[in-house]
């Protein structure tokens, strides 16, 4: 009995030591996304994307002398700034993450940036916050995004509508930073190009009834209804009401509205509607799609590729700085993301890590053709989609 006890204690001590050893060489990246809330149907694929990149790096064993990268998930809820801040605070102070991949929605991203990231000096790379406001937010050089600002999307929407000869639209947006930002950016751009926005009406998410909004939109009229909302939330509710009452037949769907759920919920009813969401026809996107398939999730889901890229950028910058501390690697994100250097596609993170360790430059292209501009945001590539036979498919890249 005594021997057994002794052996157990010894083993316990040894494992303890082994754990401690492991911890010394672990890099933790917080994945803060709205696992509940308006984006809950696309966030799992986003987290999978980020974690796929982390697994790739861990398996290569090349990051900072064989560090293991660990993902710690947190729920941003997408809409509740208080809850998101608390989740981020927990990741930073108790889980001690080295960087944050997130958040997803613009409002909570801004809140986390100001309350947690800047306060603790933690780098944040958001895959999907697109509010133009974040371009000018004070960030101490800590904030980056692999998604483009909606100012860019406003131009894209205008181009697509005008190419189709649409000159008069009604506009509804979800009443938050993302919706308002996109709606304003689009309206300014569209009117400057000679188009007419008959009404710009906000809708609240998660409400019981959208008849009032649909009524006002229908009364104002327009050839197309632009729905700057969320697919899991009011956006779908407004579309449902507009189709049922015969107010509009054709819809323009910006990034937050594109999701396979549309096929399931509306199908044929959306035939002829169109839209665009970030995406690229670069070979990286295809490679990433294959990798995601092999890993068992849908890599074409909105912002999944951007999430992979966000996580990859964080880790490559760490390698370039030879440190996992945010203060050290925040200045290296631009270097690894942009030219000059060898182009890096998804699945080639091991090659990139090796090149950086050898002191060479890399130009991370990744799954979404990342090119950082301005204050550290993606220049933006969009794929135009159109509904026919009840499903949407990509028809063009812009």
């Amino acid at each position: 009995m005594k021997k057994l006890l002794l052996a157990t204690t010894a083993t316990a001590l040894m494992t303890g030591a082994a754990f401690a050893d492991g911890h010394a060489n672990t890099v933790k990246i917080g994945v803060i996304l709205g696992f509940t809330g308006p984006l809950e149907s696309i966030t799992p694929q986003m987290a999978d994307g980020a974690e796929l990149a982390m697994k790739e790096v861990t398996d290569s064993g090349l990051l900072l002398d064989g560090a293991t990268v660990e993902s710690v998930r947190g729920d941003s809820t997408c809409v509740d700034a208080g809850a998101a801040t608390a989740a981020a605070e927990r990741l930073v102070t108790s889980d001690k993450v080295n960087a944050i991949m997130g958040a997803d929605c613009s409002g909570v991203t801004g809140a986390i940036l100001q309350n947690v990231a800047r306060a603790n000096g933690i780098v944040m790379v958001s895959p999907s916050a697109t509010s133009p406001g974040l371009s000018t937010a004070e960030d101490d050089g800590l904030f980056f995004r692999t998604s483009p600002s909606d100012a860019r999307q406003g131009v894209i929407v205008t181009n697509i509508l005008q190419d189709r000869g649409v000159n008069s639209v009604a506009l509804t947006y979800t009443n938050n930073d993302y919706g308002k930002g996109l709606a304003d950016a689009f309206q300014a751009e569209f009117e400057a190009a000679g188009g007419e926005v008959t009404i710009s009406a906000a809708h609240e998410d998660g409400k019981a009834d959208y008849s009032a909004e649909v009524g006002a939109l229908a009364s104002a009229g327009g050839e197309v209804l632009v729905v700057a909302g969320y697919v899991d939330q009011g956006g779908s509710g407004v579309i449902r009401g507009a189709i049922d009452s015969g107010a509009f037949d054709t819809f323009y769907l910006p990034d937050g509205m594109v999701g396979t759920k549309l096929n399931d919920v509306f199908g044929e009813e959306l035939n002829g509607s169109f839209g665009a969401y970030p995406g690229t026809d670069s070979e990286g996107a295809a490679t990433y799609g294959e990798m995601a398939k092999a890993a068992g999730y849908d890599g074409t889901s909105a912002f999944s590729a951007e999430s992979y890229d966000a996580a990859a950028l964080i880790m490559l910058a760490m390698q370039a700085a030879k440190s996992s501390a945010s203060a050290d690697f925040k200045d290296h994100i631009f270097d690894v993301a942009n030219a000059p250097g060898e182009k890096i596609f998804p699945g080639e993170l091991d090659k990139a890590l090796k090149l950086i360790a050898e002191g060479q430059d890399v130009d991370y292209v990744g799954a979404s053709a990342v090119e950082l501009v301005g204050a550290g945001e993606s220049a933006g590539n969009y794929q135009e989609i159109e509904f026919s036979d009840g499903v949407y498919s990509t028809i063009k890249y812009r």
């Binding site: 009404i199 009406a201 609240e204 008849s211 909004e213 009524g215 009364s219 015969g246 919920v265």
Partner: protein
């Protein structure tokens, strides 16, 4: 012709959706008001009771659908409704035995009961998400429209379409039937009378030999039926998502209070007042005005009294005004 177009446009975007939404709110508010009147507390768990009831109905509907049972042009969910009501009834009675009874026997203050119902709300909220998930669920089938906008235009030759969804028609018809049965029950049957007696004066009711536990039991059963019917109709008309049902609680309470808490007639009136105030005050009358008024007078703007952002402000302003001038609500209820 223009005048007809104006009426149709108004009907399509204001009257029909307002009626359906009003009926849904009225059914929800009836449940809240009954509990307030008879059990004497504001039941915050009502929205989530509706969600759970609807969840049962959805699960059974899916069972029917996969077994190939359908209800012709009507949604299969109607067939599943009685089973859903039975399950919800069991759930509510179980909750009462496990939670509310304990506090009722101690004769705690109403505010304690309200807090207890808040706890029940969170548990039901979690259970619903745990069982059916937080996302949207679709369970509507059968014919979608009684008349669609396109058919109406072809039929009448008018420029404006009028769409009436099956779910909207069904909601109004069911609401009328349910309300009629409820009033008959409350006014004509022995159990209904004993419930009203218990509501009016608990001590007198006890003296005259009314069994309080029986009254409580029947109340929960009726509430279960009302909540399940309201939730299912709402789900058929819009969509089922647990979070939306939780949010429904606010307009439902507003409806019950405007009408007069504890007064069933008031709950119905309140439901329609809230629904129509949300839809009409924020409606852009441009289209209607363009049809009715001569060209010279037609408005350039949207002719919208308030932007749709303010629709909740409207219903709550009405709530406050009513409470200021008639603290017991439009119909004489109990003062809050």
């Amino acid at each position: 012709m223009d005048f007809l177009n104006a009426i149709v446009a108004l009907a399509n975007f204001v009257i029909v959706p307002g009626m359906a939404y009003g009926a849904q709110l009225a059914l929800g508010a009836l449940g809240v008001t009954l509990i307030y009147g008879i059990l004497r507390f504001s039941n915050f768990a009502h929205g989530d009771t509706m969600a759970m009831g609807t969840m049962f109905v959805i699960l059974i509907t899916w069972g029917f659908q996969s077994a190939g049972i359908s209800f012709g042009p009507l949604p299969t969910a109607l067939l599943a409704l009685p089973f859903g009501i039975a399950l919800t009834g069991l759930l509510l009675i179980g909750t009462d035995k496990m939670v509310y009874q304990f506090y009722r026997q101690r004769k705690v203050k109403p505010v304690v009961m309200v807090m207890v119902s808040l706890g029940v709300m969170f548990i039901m909220n979690g259970l619903t998400r745990f069982i059916i998930g937080p996302g949207d669920q679709r369970f509507a089938d059968g014919e979608r429209f009684i008349i669609s906008a396109r058919e109406f235009k072809a039929m009448t030759g008018l420029k404006e379409g009028l769409a009436i969804k099956t779910s909207q028609g069904l909601t109004v018809v069911t609401a009328v039937i349910v309300v009629a049965v409820l009033f008959w029950f409350l006014n004509r049957t022995r159990t209904g009378k004993s419930m009203r007696a218990y509501s009016d004066n608990e001590d007198l009711a006890l003296l005259s030999g009314i069994n309080p536990e029986r009254v409580v039991l029947y109340t929960w059963l009726i509430v279960a039926a009302l909540a399940t019917v309201a939730g299912t109709l709402y789900g058929l008309d819009k969509s089922f998502k647990p979070f939306t049902y939780f949010q429904l609680l606010l307009p439902i309470f507003a409806a019950a209070i405007v009408g007069g808490l504890g007064n069933p007639l008031g709950a119905i009136a309140g439901g329609f007042v809230i629904a129509f105030s949300e839809v009409t005050v924020t409606y852009a009358f441009k289209k209607v005005a363009n049809y009715v008024l001569p060209d010279a007078l037609a408005p350039d703007g949207l002719a919208q009294l308030m932007s749709t952002d303010y629709k909740f402000a409207v219903s709550f302003s009405i709530l406050i005004i009513v409470l200021l001038f008639k603290p017991t609500g439009l119909f004489k209820g109990k003062s809050v």
